[in-house]
């Protein structure tokens, strides 16, 4: 396996955002051009869903302290909007963006000119159509009790086929090519693209199509959810980090030879961690304990990614160079979040600690740390790098880039910290046998509403900038070049 050597890319593929070319707009390479249309399609869809999800997040956050807000009719009750918001965020925003990002990474790493890009675009169309229909059904009628399986089960086959076309097929097609270089990013993408459809299909079958007996459904669901979070979202985002960090710092990764061990141990253990999220449930103890052991084992891949990434960042003033580079600023932020999220996952799998925070906002904070502060921030960073190369334009406004980073960073720090602190304190009060009604923190809902508004502002800034670029292919203002 070889390093993601920054110098090995052909010249003329545009420059990093922080160091724009002296003259003219970025050129669109042939490799980039070959995947431009599906990747742009996935990013544009992701952005639209992100906006929908952020508006819904504001509404649901406000509803938690003003339950009368927008409560006129059944379609806008909390339970429904909450489920829709979550599905839109995960399937609409994160999954669309990661499919697009993975596609672009594969093309770039393999320097592969993609012949049948329309197949991926077709997959994308099916995916987004299925999601739209599924959301409409949840709005009107159907739903069930399991996070991320709320969409009607008829959507599942469409999602499955769409994913095969848009993600698994390209991954295998790229990987089949004979090349001398094998990059660990490709491993992660291949793994993630393989795990998601298999796990999704089995979970659909065992929970919705022919449901297993009673609490086993919850076990299957926890297995699905941990796979989705760590091995689809997490692994795809790690693939991007393994690409952008050395490339943009112009260096090699510390301890790169360890990275395959990191890959295998993550895939080996993360799939077993589901039951660690079900401690105290009516499932057999041996199942719960297996989950805890697996969660502790995540220490191994975490150590390796930390050596790889933080080792690299702490050399040659890497942190400050990352801070001054748009893409790496988001990526480095995400890396810190990934580390914290995994540490929390490990520490709060301990029975005594888990007993306190289980069922409180704490777990929501943990999830947001992983899926927003890590995965979404990495996607943003990647988008700042990729979109100029696909459109041949610069980002229209540097001010909007700053607004985007700061509002999202502040919002996610505030929101995660709020969930963790208020969740912990509610859990501690409950453990001290205070009556349930006296343990809720009204400030928590206020804080999360404020953060939801900040998220929305950041996402609008990002969307305005991105759509400005996607729709115009003219070159940019001077201001944008300094983004």
């Amino acid at each position: 396996m070889s390093q993601e050597n920054p110098n090995s890319r052909p010249q003329g593929q545009g420059r990093p955002q922080g160091r724009p070319a002296e003259t003219g707009a970025p050129r669109i390479s042939r490799v980039d051009a070959s995947v431009a249309s599906p990747v742009k399609f996935f990013f544009a869809s992701a952005l639209l869903w992100l906006l929908v999800s952020s508006v819904l997040a504001v509404i649901t956050a406000v509803k938690l302290h003003l339950p009368g807000f927008l409560n006129g009719c059944e379609f806008v009750t909390f339970g429904r909007l909450d489920a829709i918001q979550r599905n839109v965020f995960f399937y609409g925003w994160a999954s669309n963006a990661l499919i697009g990002l993975n596609l672009w990474l594969l093309a770039s790493l393999g320097r592969f000119e993609f012949r049948n890009a329309w197949i991926a675009t077709l997959g994308g169309l099916i995916w987004n159509l299925a999601l739209t229909i599924g959301v409409a059904f949840v709005l009107l009628d159907s739903q069930n009790a399991f996070e991320l399986l709320e969409l009607p089960r008829g959507v599942a086959p469409a999602f499955f086929v769409a994913f095969l076309l848009a993600a698994l097929w390209p991954a295998v097609a790229f990987a089949r090519r004979p090349t001398s270089h094998v990059f660990v990013s490709q491993w992660y993408i291949l793994g993630a693209s393989f795990v998601l459809p298999v796990v999704y299909l089995l979970a659909q079958l065992m929970v919705l199509w022919c449901p297993t007996n009673g609490v086993l459904q919850a076990l299957v669901h926890s297995w699905f959810l941990q796979n989705f979070l760590f091995l689809w979202l997490g692994a795809s985002a790690l693939a991007a980090v393994y690409y952008f960090l050395p490339k943009e710092l112009g260096t090699t990764l510390t301890g790169y030879y360890l990275s395959t061990v990191g890959f295998w141990t993550l895939f080996l253990f993360a799939g077993w961690t589901g039951p660690a999220t079900l401690l105290g449930s009516p499932l057999p103890l041996w199942i719960q304990s297996t989950g805890v052991v697996a969660a502790v084992m995540l220490l191994i891949p975490l150590t390796i990614t930390s050596i790889n990434f933080f080792g690299t960042l702490s050399r040659d003033s890497g942190w400050s160079r990352a801070w001054n580079n748009t893409t790496l600023r988001f990526v480095a932020f995400g890396l810190v979040a990934y580390t914290l999220a995994t540490v929390l996952q490990i520490v709060f799998s301990a029975r005594s600690l888990n007993a306190i925070v289980r069922f409180t906002a704490f777990t929501a904070g943990q999830q947001q740390l992983l899926t927003y502060a890590f995965v979404s921030m990495v996607i943003f960073g990647a988008a700042y790098f990729i979109l100029p190369r696909l459109t041949g334009a610069f980002w229209p406004s540097a001010k909007l880039v700053h607004l985007h980073f700061w509002s999202c960073a502040v919002a996610v720090v505030g929101s995660v910290a709020g969930s963790l602190v208020f969740g912990w304190s509610q859990g501690a009060a409950l453990a001290a046998a205070k009556p349930f009604a006296d343990t809720a923190h009204p400030q928590a809902a206020l804080l999360s509403s404020a953060c939801a508004v900040l998220f929305l502002i950041g996402h609008v800034a990002f969307a305005v900038n991105a759509f400005g670029m996607l729709t115009s292919c003219s070159s940019s203002t001077d201001e944008g070049r300094q983004a």
């Binding site: 009673g214 609490v215 077993w272």
Partner: protein
């Protein structure tokens, strides 16, 4: 990529192992679990749910009550659920064997409902709560499940009645072979 087959085989193994170990293992243990009497010759428990309650579960799921309510009581050493008065004993797998869709939930904005039927008072009080939770409650009003009757009392519509029947059917207040009630 030279290692393609190796990677795919490896990843396949990493998916298959927990699937076999956890899911099939769990299935071997619990897949055929059924009802059982608390003591020799007693009635099979959990008791069959009334038809209206079965419809009510659908309403519960459709409205997403699970976003804020759980239905599981943890054992005494694992959280304070029993001390909170949400159940006299921990929930066990057998309690759920009749449910086509379990709604264990993983977030408690409101109290656990595993035993709500055992502590619920009258239909009228449940209806009053669902249609207009007390001021300050984070629970939204589900007024569309009710209409005021002529005498001013709340009349649940079909779904409202089903939901109330379902809520009243939620109880794990019997002895089970795995979790005896303390005498």
């Amino acid at each position: 990529m030279k290692n393609l087959n190796l990677i795919l085989a490896g990843v396949f193994f990493t998916v298959a192992a927990p699937f076999g170990g956890l899911l099939l293992g769990g299935h071997a243990q619990l897949g055929a679990l059924g009802r059982a009497p608390a003591e020799e010759g007693g009635p099979l428990l959990p008791a069959l749910e009334p038809g209206l309650a079965i419809q009510g579960r659908q309403v519960y799921l459709q409205l997403g009550c699970v976003a804020c309510h759980t239905q599981q009581v943890r054992p005494a050493g694992q959280g304070s659920d029993i001390a909170q008065g949400w159940g006299a004993r921990p929930s066990v797998a057998r309690d759920y064997v009749l449910q086509p869709q379990v709604a264990l939930g993983n977030r408690r904005v409101g109290p656990d409902l595993a035993n709500y039927g055992a502590r619920a008072k009258s239909d009228a009080e449940i209806a009053a709560h669902l249609s207009a939770p007390a001021a300050g409650s984070a629970m939204p009003a589900y007024a569309f499940l009710f209409s005021p009757a002529k005498d001013g009392s709340l009349q649940p519509n079909e779904r409202g009645a089903a939901l109330i029947a379902y809520l009243k059917s939620l109880r794990q207040d019997y002895s089970s072979p795995e979790a005896k009630l303390k005498q």
